[in-house]
């Protein structure tokens, strides 16, 4: 009973605050139209009540919230909190019209009463009094605040004429319908001259900060619409519009967005208001604006004449009627309403038929012709080894994981026996978490309320974002963050960004769920599986992407990511909630301390050489509690874990990989749009090569090598073994005798200050070691726990690429790109019989892994393995107790895994039939130089990096060392002192690092440091000559490279110079890889973005966008290596695509290609052929042509000095040597 009264009274309160509508007073209207700066009073006028009652519901809820807060402050039980939760539900789902929502809320109140009446009855008497008192107080306060609280509807227009017009119409509202006015309004010319506007926008565009604010505002409006806060969006729009300073921020897109919102609701009056504002701002309505207006007319069933006038105006503006249906993205319902309106005016109108599913476009790149050829070479695309049923099952598993957004994994840390202490700690923790949930919940509510207030004041606050997810989800997210916070703390900026991203991802997943996309996806995916499963038939063999496109999955609208500033702001707000809400009893920290609550998280500053970094740090007692509880679970985001079913094929730059979580095809620094824009602008067919290659790399099924995992875990849970890459547990770390916190020894009075300083240094050293060990350990724990989690399962690693086209697996912790240990844990889930030569390849691979016979022929390597067979078998059988030969290898764990595979194969009755899952690698020898040598057709260079067939593998490092030695001897004979001193010291090792990195742009400065380091390691080298000798050597290394790779150096110089000039013309360097991927270098001058307020102002620099000037140094130094990387990635993708066509399993770690032992020979052949194909293209000339077109063809800038110099440089493409590329095809050691 009481609850009923409660609800009614509250509703009544809402009404009392805003009395029922009345015809508006003329005087008020005058004030509105004529007098500027009278905004507030007019907005607070009672005459607006009739319109505002629609929003009464929101107001009511806020009042309720405020009351609950007050009641809580008075110590009311949490019952009330829950009540409001229920009451709030309609608001969360108020995508329906406000009127309906209101009715829903009122309808809900009596229902609630039944549930809560009993509980409340008990405290009723006490409550009653309090409530009355409160209500009185509240009413008073609400009244004073009311003027701020109300949402503005009518705009205040800056143009006097328009304002008068608006005013006239409003007065005459009864007589002439609104739609009449719209039609007339449409005829109004935009207030500002278009030229003016263009100029203004050009000036605006230059301002990065303004652009950032715009992005945030647009994102705010979008989010308001999503969460059903359209009136709020309108309010903020009106507020911004009425302040000329803020009006600069508004763009047509924002007005359109709000208009579209009103159109969906069928609220014509508000729509007209927005139209007024558009005109007032001097913007010309575009198709989107008209679509909104017509849609609204359709919904309201307007008469034909209005519609006709609207259409006429549209034609006068030069906009096509057809365009409404083709160029404007519309929902199903929206489209129907729009059509209804148009049909009124033109009954015969037929919308253009939906464009036929575009004929599967074909990639025309000459490199890919064979890949996409329908006839000709035989096609045998591989299939998975799993039947359809199993795959469907796997899909369901993965779907569940992604819907849950997190995965909880058992840790592989040794299980503690559940002692009294452990159990106690766990219980404490569980209790604390329960309290934290409530506390966080309350804190979130309060934050939401205050953000809502901010929005009502016209600021684009975080309110709509906080409405995207339910409080429960936010609480879960925050608790998860708390759990994962490292003991030494985490930078607030990082944390905020991470939190923001997670909210975004969850929101996307939720939207897909709500919009029924999941079911559609499921249907299509099952059909898609028919292509991959082992027991299905398809009519025509084709690539996964082609198959997917043929299935005609409707392209889901692609979600624009939020601007980084929004992400960070939201994340920071959430982090603040966490800091404020989460507390624990002080007695946990100091058992005898006072019983007050202390915060669990602290916001402290860390000082890094005069910069301060704000970090959030957990209380040490909390860290201890976590340790004591020894909870053996780890939580990962679903995107951090390999997938349990084949990834979605990549069909566009933003759809592919994970089922629901958004993934970008090209990873980039967060917040940079330029790559994405470039990709979207590309014709779709141009990207096919990259899309298919990524899909194919992701389609490789993996499994965990159980035996290796067992051995690793054994070491891991014991003492670790740093030598083998298994980090030791913290118990093995050097511990300070008593720890930092009790520096008894540091306080001993009889020690001298100098001794204490020494002690401190020792302590610091130990702490550093311990910290490093800890982070290594944590890293390994993640990886091994995931491996354990995935043991006995088949999983997939979806791939994407960096801005140069190099590919990477998306899941970060457990993949084949990691260390020796990580790689050894993985093997192909699909097996292949070894065949006649497979065993030989296994043996050669083993010898390669040992790093012993690098300069021997394949035959010699195999013979070497045969000699060692005893050791190999011993390693395989008794890895830890035997002779442990494998431990001496360069890559011990992979060597061990290989030993085991060889042992199994040799013991099989027929080794050739043995089914092997083991991946065999083939490495390019100094791949960067290989590409350079091929580009420049350097004969000598090509020979030294194995582009020429030869009996023994060549070693470029030895080659360079020998060349340096020749120079040295000459100099020594001429009496150069350094050259004489260096006699006998020039070895492969000294020059290796420099030669390797020269390709990637190392300078003489860096090269000298590298060589100095090497020389320093030589004990008998006279150290006083270090500087001189390294200086001399680096010069000689560069000279030798010049001698051997004459083309290379000139190409490098040409690239560098071009990049320098391009950068000087004010652009970032762009090019297109031979496979058609557009590349742009993301090096720009930093611009600082600051987010103020709250516990700390956060500043982050963004450097990735085209609106900023390029960073010349980085652009210039980055171009040669990035260009070479774009070539090696092209080579890899070509190899991948062709291998796929031949039915091979293929994966790559950049320039290291993996396949089954049986297929190594085929892969090698494909690899060489594709290298020749790639370099047979006029790569440098194509590049030159592209750059000229891109940077020198603009007539406006071509007069600049830089441009003409650039043109000269670009046209003088370096000359090439006489090397015959075809020879590569016969070079055994090209990749080996």
């Amino acid at each position: 009973m009481s609850a009923l009264g409660w609800g009614r009274r509250a509703a009544g309160l809402g009404r009392a605050l805003w009395p029922a509508g009345r015809p508006r007073l003329l005087a008020e209207e005058e004030a509105f139209g004529g007098v500027r700066g009278h905004r507030r009073s007019s907005s607070a006028s009672p005459c607006e009540q009739d319109r505002r009652k629609d929003w009464g519901h929101a107001e009511l809820l806020e009042v309720l919230q405020a009351r609950v807060r007050q009641l809580q402050a008075e110590g009311v039980s949490e019952v009330t909190v829950k009540r409001v939760d229920v009451a709030l539900a309609p608001e969360a789902s108020s995508a329906q019209s406000p009127g309906k929502a209101r009715a829903g809320a009122e309808g809900a109140a009596p229902k609630l009463s039944g549930r809560w009446a009993q509980k409340l009855d008990k405290e009723q008497r006490l409550m009653q009094k309090r409530k009355q008192r409160l209500e009185g107080r509240l009413q008073k306060r609400e009244r004073t605040l009311a003027w701020q609280r109300q949402l503005r509807v009518e705009p205040r227009l800056l143009s006097g004429r328009l304002a008068n017009q608006l005013q006239r119409w409003e007065q005459g509202a009864a007589r002439s319908p609104w739609e009449e006015q719209l039609a007339q309004l449409l005829q109004e010319a935009p207030q500002r001259l278009s030229g003016d506007a263009a100029k203004a926008s050009a000036v605006r565009g230059s301002d990065v900060r303004l652009e950032g604010q715009r992005q945030r505002l647009l994102s705010f409006f979008e989010c308001c619409l999503l969460t059903g806060h359209l009136p709020l969006a309108h309010h903020v729009l009106v507020t911004h519009h009425s302040r000329s300073r803020q009006q600069r921020l508004l763009t047509l897109a924002m007005y359109n967005m709000v208009m579209r919102g009103w159109a969906r609701e069928g609220s014509f009056k508000e729509l007209v208001y927005v139209f007024f504002m558009v005109k007032d701002a001097g913007l010309a309505p575009d198709l989107l604006s008209y679509a909104a207006a017509l849609q609204c007319m359709g919904r309201l069933d307007q008469d034909a004449s209005t519609v006709r006038r609207c259409l006429k105006q549209m034609a006068q503006d030069g906009l096509q009627l057809q365009g409404l249906f083709t160029a404007v993205p519309l929902g199903e319902g929206e489209r129907a309403e729009l059509l209804r309106a148009v049909r009124k005016a033109e009954p015969t109108f037929r919308p253009p038929p939906p464009p036929p599913p575009p004929a599967p476009q074909l990639n025309t790149s000459p490199l890919l012709r064979e890949v996409y050829a329908k006839q000709g070479c035989p096609v045998s695309y591989p299939r998975l080894h799993l039947p359809l049923k199993k795959l469907q099952d796997l899909f369901q598993q993965q779907l569940r994981v992604e819907l849950a957004t997190t995965v909880t994994v058992q840790s592989v840390e040794k299980a503690q026996p559940p002692t009294e202490e452990v159990l106690h700690a766990r219980k404490t923790l569980a209790d604390l978490r329960a309290t934290w949930e409530t506390a966080l919940y309350q804190e979130l509510q309060e934050t939401k309320a205050s953000e809502a207030r901010a929005a009502r004041e016209g600021r684009p606050s975080l309110f709509p974002y906080l409405c995207l997810l339910s409080e429960r989800e936010f609480v879960g997210l925050l608790l998860q963050t708390l759990q994962a916070l490292p003991a030494q703390g985490e930078s607030l900026l990082f944390l905020a960004h991470e939190l923001g991203l997670r909210v975004f991802n969850r929101h996307i997943v939720q939207r897909k769920q709500l919009s029924k996309q999941v079911q559609v996806l499921e249907q299509h995916y099952i059909k898609y599986l028919h292509l991959l499963a082992s027991d299905t038939q398809v009519a025509e063999r084709c690539l996964p992407r082609q198959w997917w496109e043929a299935l005609g999955m409707p392209e889901a609208p692609h979600e624009q990511p939020w601007p980084v500033s929004v992400l960070v702001q939201l994340g920071k707000q959430l982090a603040e909630v966490l800091v404020q809400a989460v507390q624990m009893p002080g007695s946990l920290a100091a058992p005898r301390g006072p019983g007050s609550l202390i915060p669990v998280l602290y916001h402290v500053y860390s000082f890094r050489s005069f910069r301060q970094i704000g970090i959030l740090k957990p209380h040490p007692a909390f860290t201890q509690l976590l340790e004591a509880a020894a909870e053996r679970t780890l939580t990962f985001e679903s995107t951090e874990v390999p997938m349990l079913c084949p990834p979605l094929p990549w069909t566009s730059p933003h759809s592919g990989a994970f089922l629901l979580s958004p993934t970008k095809m090209m990873r980039s620094v967060e917040g940079t749009q330029q790559h994405q824009l470039l990709l979207e602008r590309c014709p779709p067919a141009q990207l096919h090569g990259a899309l298919d290659a990524l899909t194919q790399l992701g389609n490789c099924a993996w499994r965990v090598n159980g035996r290796v995992l067992d051995l690793v875990l054994e070491l891991f849970t014991d003492k670790g073994c740093p030598r083998l890459g298994v980090p030791a547990p913290p118990s093995e770390a050097p511990r300070p005798p008593q720890g930092r916190q009790t520096p008894k020894s540091g306080l001993l009075p009889d020690l001298s200050p100098a001794d204490k300083a020494e002690m401190r240094r020792e302590l610091a050293r130990r702490l550093k070691v311990a910290r490093e060990m800890q982070s290594l350990r944590a890293d390994a724990l993640c990886r091994l726990s995931l491996a354990q989690h995935l043991r006995h399962r088949v999983f997939w690693l979806p791939h994407n690429m960096d801005f140069r086209g190099r590919t990477y697996p998306c899941p970060p912790h457990f993949n084949h790109l990691g260390s020796d240990l990580a790689r050894a844990l993985l093997e192909f889930a699909q097996g292949r019989p070894l065949g006649p030569h497979g065993l030989d390849w296994l043996k050669i691979h083993l010898v390669n892994l040992t790093g012993l016979k690098k300069r021997e022929s394949l035959q010699a390597r195999r013979d070497f393995a045969d000699q060692l067979m005893e050791d190999i078998l011993d390693s395989a059988d008794q890895p830890m107790t035997g002779r442990r030969w494998w431990m001496e290898a360069d890559e011990p764990w992979q060597a061990l895994a290989c030993c085991m595979e060889i042992a199994r194969a040799t013991r099989a009755p027929d080794p050739a039939a043995y089914i092997s899952h083991f991946p065999v690698h083939q490495d390019g020898s100094c791949n960067g130089l290989q590409h350079y040598a091929a580009l420049g057709r350097d004969s000598v260079g090509a020979a030294s990096v194995n582009l020429l067939p030869s009996d023994l593998p060549q070693d470029v490092y030895s080659g360079v060392a020998a060349q340096v030695e020749v120079f040295r001897r000459q100099d020594a004979e001429q009496g150069v002192r350094v050259a004489q001193v260096l006699e006998g010291f020039i070895s492969r090792k000294v020059v290796k690092q420099t030669v390797m990195t020269v390709v990637y742009g190392v300078t003489r400065y860096g090269g000298r440091l590298q060589i100095e380091k090497r020389l320093r390691e030589l004990h008998d080298f006279p150290q006083e000559f270090l500087w001189e000798a390294s200086h001399y050597l680096v010069r000689q290394v560069f000279n030798s490279l010049q001698e051997m790779f004459s083309g290379t150096r000139s190409i490098q110089r040409w690239l560098t110079e071009s990049a320098r000039l391009i950068s000087h013309t004010g652009s970032a360097v762009e090019w297109v890889t031979p496979l058609g991927i557009p590349v742009i270098q993301p090096y720009h001058r930093d611009s600082k973005v600051m987010i103020k307020g709250g516990i700390q102002s956060l500043t982050f620099s963004s450097s990735g966008d085209t609106s900023q000037k390029p960073n010349t140094l980085k652009q210039k130094n980055g171009f040669p290596p990035n260009f070479i990387h774009s070539l090696d990635s092209s080579h890899m993708m070509l190899t991948a695509l062709h291998c796929y066509r031949k039915g091979l399993t293929f994966v790559s770690v950049h320039d290291c290609f993996w396949t089954h032992a049986a297929d190594v020979a085929v892969m090698n052949q494909v690899c060489r052929e594709q290298f020749v194909r790639l370099h047979s293209q006029p790569i440098l000339h194509d590049l030159s042509r592209f750059l000229v077109k891109r940077f020198c063809s603009d007539s406006r800038v071509s007069k600049s000095v830089w441009v003409s110099r650039l043109l000269d440089t670009l046209l003088s493409v370096p000359k090439t040597g006489a090397f015959d590329l075809e020879q590569v095809k016969r070079s055994t050691y090209f990749f080996s």
Partner: protein
């Protein structure tokens, strides 16, 4: 008296000679540097045989040193030099050891030598070295010249150091200077001018060294006599009565050292020069308007007798920096994020009001606060501080 300048390049000598200013500012042009270096290969071998290989490859030295627009001031007035010598020597014994940083043309060096002191000249600019060496020719080892940058001794990056960046061990071992214990005093005095551009950073470095008892302070309680800008000097001397200037460095300085302002020289009366002999008043307006103070910093003998020691000084540093991040906030709010110990209890112990603000705390109060927390017996965990939070690379 001006004879020894013969070794200077003509332009420099000109500017130093013709303008009677007491300081001059030099800005190094790239062109000049080369020819000076060419004729400068001899010299250091007697002191630093292992450095020989480096001579002649000036370009290789650390990055910082390549900055050519660095402005340096030198004492060029003999009268000022005499005054300084009198101030420095005071009543003390005349034959003490003085470390002079960046003597430049050597005017002060000469005056010091004249008064009978032993001088070690640490010069970071090779241009001046031959000239300085010639000063000590007939003095029987009373002057030693080392190519070294005093203010960059013992870089924390711990990379490879090449002169003029050196480690103190390297330097003092070669000079044959032994460490004295903290209570005994100081084996030498230091006089120099703080580098203008990096004044604050250099001060931070000095106090880090002092509190951690490393670098020069490993050799005893070294007395520093430094010229610093008046503004910076005021900051060092600030306390709650001058809240606008009060900052963490003030506290550190006042806790650690006895500070004496020995002399104040109006900068406005000096003229400033670039190397090509042109007046450059306009460009250095901000310098022109400043005074320079000579301050003496003598570390307290009893600095480390309490609970503040080189073992835990970093916590003290962190506490101060954290407090002065939000200097107008209440101390109690900062205490919450510094230490898990009950903040009100601590405030009671140091007899402060719970509303006390950071800028109301005198340096001694901070010291007491630190000692109180450090002494508290109750808790196992006294600070929320973690080693990695204070990571200073100078």
């Amino acid at each position: 008296m001006w004879v020894p300048v013969a070794g200077l390049p003509s332009l420099l000598a000109l500017s130093a000679l013709t303008r009677g200013g007491r300081f001059c500012i030099l800005r190094f042009g790239a062109a000049r540097r080369k020819d000076v270096l060419a004729g400068n290969r001899r010299g250091l071998s007697d002191i630093h045989p292992q450095l020989l290989s480096n001579v002649g490859f000036g370009k290789s030295s650390s990055r910082v040193y390549r900055c050519r627009s660095e402005i340096k001031r030198y004492i060029t007035s003999p009268r000022l030099a005499e005054t300084l010598v009198q101030i420095l020597q005071g009543k003390g014994d005349a034959s003490q050891l003085i470390l002079e940083c960046n003597p430049g043309p050597g005017i002060l060096t000469q005056a010091l030598l004249g008064s009978g002191a032993k001088v070690i000249a640490l010069e970071s600019d090779k241009t001046f070295i031959p000239q300085l060496e010639s000063l000590g020719k007939n003095l029987g080892g009373k002057l030693e010249v080392v190519y070294c940058d005093f203010f960059k001794l013992d870089p924390r990056s711990r990379g490879i150091v090449t002169p003029p960046v050196m480690t103190s061990e390297m330097l003092f071992q070669n000079l044959g200077i032994e460490a004295l214990s903290w209570s005994k005093g100081s084996p030498f005095k230091v006089i120099g001018i703080l580098p203008t551009k990096s004044e604050r950073n250099t001060l931070w470095k000095i106090f880090h060294d002092l509190y951690s008892c490393t670098s020069i302070y490993k050799y005893g309680r070294i007395e520093l006599n430094l010229f610093i800008t008046e503004k910076e000097c005021q900051k060092l001397l600030a306390n709650p009565r001058t809240p606008n200037l009060y900052q963490a460095l003030s506290v550190l300085c006042q806790i650690a050292c006895g500070i004496k302002v020995l002399n104040k020289l109006p900068w406005s009366s000096f003229e400033t020069y670039t190397t090509n002999g042109q007046l450059e008043k306009q460009k250095h307006r901000e310098l022109v308007e400043q005074n320079m103070c000579l301050i003496q910093l003598t570390p307290h003998r009893d600095l480390f007798t309490g609970n503040l020691t080189p073992f835990n000084y970093d916590v003290f540093f962190h506490m101060l920096r954290q407090c002065f991040m939000k200097r107008n906030a209440k101390l109690v709010d900062h205490l919450h994020s510094l230490s898990p110990i009950d903040a009100l209890h601590i405030l009671k112990q140091i007899k402060k009001n719970k509303n006390v603000k950071v800028i109301d705390m005198y340096p001694q109060d901070f010291h007491r606060l630190f000692e109180t927390i450090e002494c508290s017996k109750e808790d196992t965990c006294k600070w929320l501080y973690d080693d990695f939070m204070e990571d200073v690379i100078l």
